[in-house]
């Protein structure tokens, strides 16, 4: 199963991938450090799930989410952000994200996420 992890922080990507691999050891993980790279990788690799940060240079998560949903309206995008504002959550859900989860991701949150996605 292909998974795309998008965050400008290498640490955030590593933390998420390490937690993800505890539950999906066979996952084929692709990494992107901004939204523009993420959109390109989404086009070329067609991942099952995208974990997407919001605050990034070059292209932020909102813009990337919009473009990803245009490419595939059924894309499963999980927004992972420390921005816990209600309006941020409403905005990403309106744009088509499946879930929005506060940073940092731990095992408990990952189990919750995986249970809500369709594989």
């Amino acid at each position: 199963m292909k998974i795309l992890v998008v965050d400008d922080s290498k640490l955030a990507r590593l933390t998420l991938i390490k937690t993800l691999k505890e539950y999906e050891p066979s996952a084929e993980v692709y990494e992107a450090e901004n939204g523009a790279i993420a959109v390109e990788l989404f086009k070329s690799e067609n991942p099952r799930v995208v974990f997407l940060d919001l605050t990034m240079p070059v292209m932020d998560g909102y813009e990337a989410l919009k473009l990803i949903m245009q490419i595939d309206p059924h894309a499963q995008v999980v927004v992972v952000s420390a921005d816990i504002q209600t309006h941020a959550q409403e905005q990403v859900l309106a744009l088509g994200a499946k879930l929005m989860v506060p940073k940092p991701i731990n095992s408990e949150k990952m189990v919750g996420i995986l249970q809500q996605l369709v594989f």
């Binding site: 400008d8 922080s9 955030a12 933390t15 605050t55 816990i84 209600t86």
Partner: protein, 205 residues
């Protein structure tokens, strides 16, 4: 009439809201570091640029090197979140999070930025939720500078009257600590006062 004067009630409300927001942030960082952390009670001051420089001089050592991460936020309220760590604390953070004894500079920088992003986003977004407003966050950036260079000349143009919210975050088991400064722009002080008035009206209704 628009005014930037804060009464003791305004300061009290803001301090309590910051306490709540910082409690949330401590929990998020504790999750990241898998350790028990403490956040000191925030200290709030309204001052000008000279006052800020004096404040920074007292808070930081003049000739010590610091990792300074700044993140701008904008909207109805806007300003700058600054997180300051000593060299040693930043190295300990990189060491712990990357699980290596000698993390390289890029890894340390990355760890400091991510920690700051979680801190600032959690604190500011919780504050805006309490005040029923919203902000947008911009990508943070880090530089290594000495204590006396924390506030550059370019900042002087942006801030005339400033609210400084400062506190210390400590994770003693990992020897990681840092100082937080939140600088609010002139117009934000007026907006904050109005939002706090609304909050007070709701409380007393």
């Amino acid at each position: 009439m628009q005014t930037d004067e804060f009464s003791s009630d305004h300061l009290d409300v803001l301090k309590e809201l910051m306490n709540i927001a910082m409690g949330n942030a401590t929990a998020s960082i504790a999750d990241l570091l898998q350790a028990f952390g403490t956040m000191h009670i925030p200290h709030l001051t309204i001052t000008d640029m000279d006052g800020l420089k004096k404040y920074i001089d007292e808070a930081l050592k003049y000739d010590e090197k610091y990792y300074v991460t700044k993140q701008l936020f904008g909207g109805i309220i806007g300003g700058e979140f600054i997180f300051v760590m000593t060299d040693e604390s930043a190295a300990n953070l990189g060491n712990y999070l990357y699980d290596v004894s000698q993390p390289n500079d890029a890894d340390i920088m990355d760890a400091v930025i991510e920690l700051t992003n979680i801190l600032s986003s959690t604190i500011i977004s919780r504050l805006t939720e309490e005040l029923k407003t919203k902000v947008q966050f911009f990508a943070p950036s880090t530089e290594i500078i000495s204590g006396n260079h924390l506030i550059g000349d370019e900042d002087t143009l942006n801030y005339h009257k400033i609210i400084i919210v400062s506190t210390v975050m400590e994770f003693q088991s990992h020897k990681i600590s840092g100082q937080i400064f939140i600088l609010a722009r002139d117009e934000t002080i007026i907006r904050l006062r109005e939002l706090i008035d609304q909050k007070l009206e709701e409380l007393y209704a």
